[in-house]
Symmetry: C2
Amino acid sequence: MDINTVKVACSSCNLRELCLPMGLNPSELDKLDSVISTRRRIKRGAALFNAGEKFTCLYAVRSGFFKTSITTADGRDQVTGFQMTGEIIGLDGIVNDLHSCDAIALEDAEVCVMPFEQVEELSREFTTLQHHVHKIMSREIVRDHSVMLLLGSMRADERLAAFLLNLAQRLHARGFSQSELVLRMTREEIGSYLGMKLETVSRTFSKFVEDDVIEVRQRYVHIKNTDALRLIVNATPGR
Amino acid sequence: MDINTVKVACSSCNLRELCLPMGLNPSELDKLDSVISTRRRIKRGAALFNAGEKFTCLYAVRSGFFKTSITTADGRDQVTGFQMTGEIIGLDGIVNDLHSCDAIALEDAEVCVMPFEQVEELSREFTTLQHHVHKIMSREIVRDHSVMLLLGSMRADERLAAFLLNLAQRLHARGFSQSELVLRMTREEIGSYLGMKLETVSRTFSKFVEDDVIEVRQRYVHIKNTDALRLIVNATPGR
DNA sequence: CGTAGTTTTGAGAGGCGTCAAGGAGCGTGG
DNA sequence: CCACGCTCCTTGACGCCTCTCAAAACTACG
């Protein structure tokens, strides 16, 4: 075991209500502990895995912040998601036993390593866990569909507003402020995720500031008017 | 059992190498037959299910062609996928026990009904089936990511070229021509899927015809130059 | 304190949306 | 069998949103 991995236990993890163990009873938790035996630390900027690597494990974000992105042969790049505490990374690797995207830590991070074979084994034993694995994958599918909606039918300001609301909501669910957040990603990464150029992201931020909807100092964002953001998202003009 | 449902067996289905039973041995197939007991016919234009309905079953397309789409409160609409023979519909419903999209038949169709609880039960018994269910969900996630790439970073002609190549490739895998296809969806539905207006879809078709890359008569499309389409997709100018 | 990376802002161009009109194909009914 | 209406598709003109290119300011970090 290398120096960056450590022993841990789900049963004593304060994230268990947010993470894979959600809803498991104590005896199931014990079993899960035997599977999810290690954590791994990832430095800011380093990869948890890269596209093309063999898939063996899912990862639960214990702390820190990740992006996943795909790159095509001709150099196109698309951020497919940002993952925070309690979220699961690596589901894309199951289908071909190869990771199909890169997972990069946007700040120093720690993940719980879950060998997928053992997760499968255990979920044959515990209906609860089986359900949960299915739900996690289904949730990812539904999330992706809503991103497709965003990319396919929204204009720049609507996209960014939706993005900010989504981030704030997820952070709030983790005990942080509803209205204040620190972006872990660059304007370019936001742009890649939202299908717009970094200049457009920046301009749209400026416009929101001008309209007194948010306050921005670098990566720090204060949402001054959540309802205004919601109105922007639902501004039917569409596209 | 209503008149539109009929008894069937996976073991005698000529799609079993394309569909859920892929890779199962004869005895496992028998078991699966006991689960997937019925088919259901859907008339062109009718819904297999609608968003908000209770989720209980997955569906395998036996024949025909479907679209899935989500609609927001403010009337935005996004086609999230087109499904053909052997493909699975309904995975989005697992997470909340509610369907999150509409599934509409674009031509008279027939699906195999698979009560999800029984699929789960059986996949606790058969590792093969469990693997397969996981792979199907993972495949959907990977597919969605590539659509995000398309929507986020491609221009209109690149999107349509990628779309045509993808359709042709899937049809080819089902024994149809690589170069000739009949679209089952309208220009508007293509546009919704690809994040562009129907007029732009139509114009882009016309441009491809002008460039002698394809031939179009209504819904019929003949791909005259596959390599040219590939070049269009990979035209780095990007966006 | 210098350098690299990130962000902001401006000016100009072009791709795609919008609005509008006309045409083609198909099902229905007389 | 033909006429009619509906839906779907095509094409044109115009304008706007977002991209592109460019330069400067700011921050972080060594």
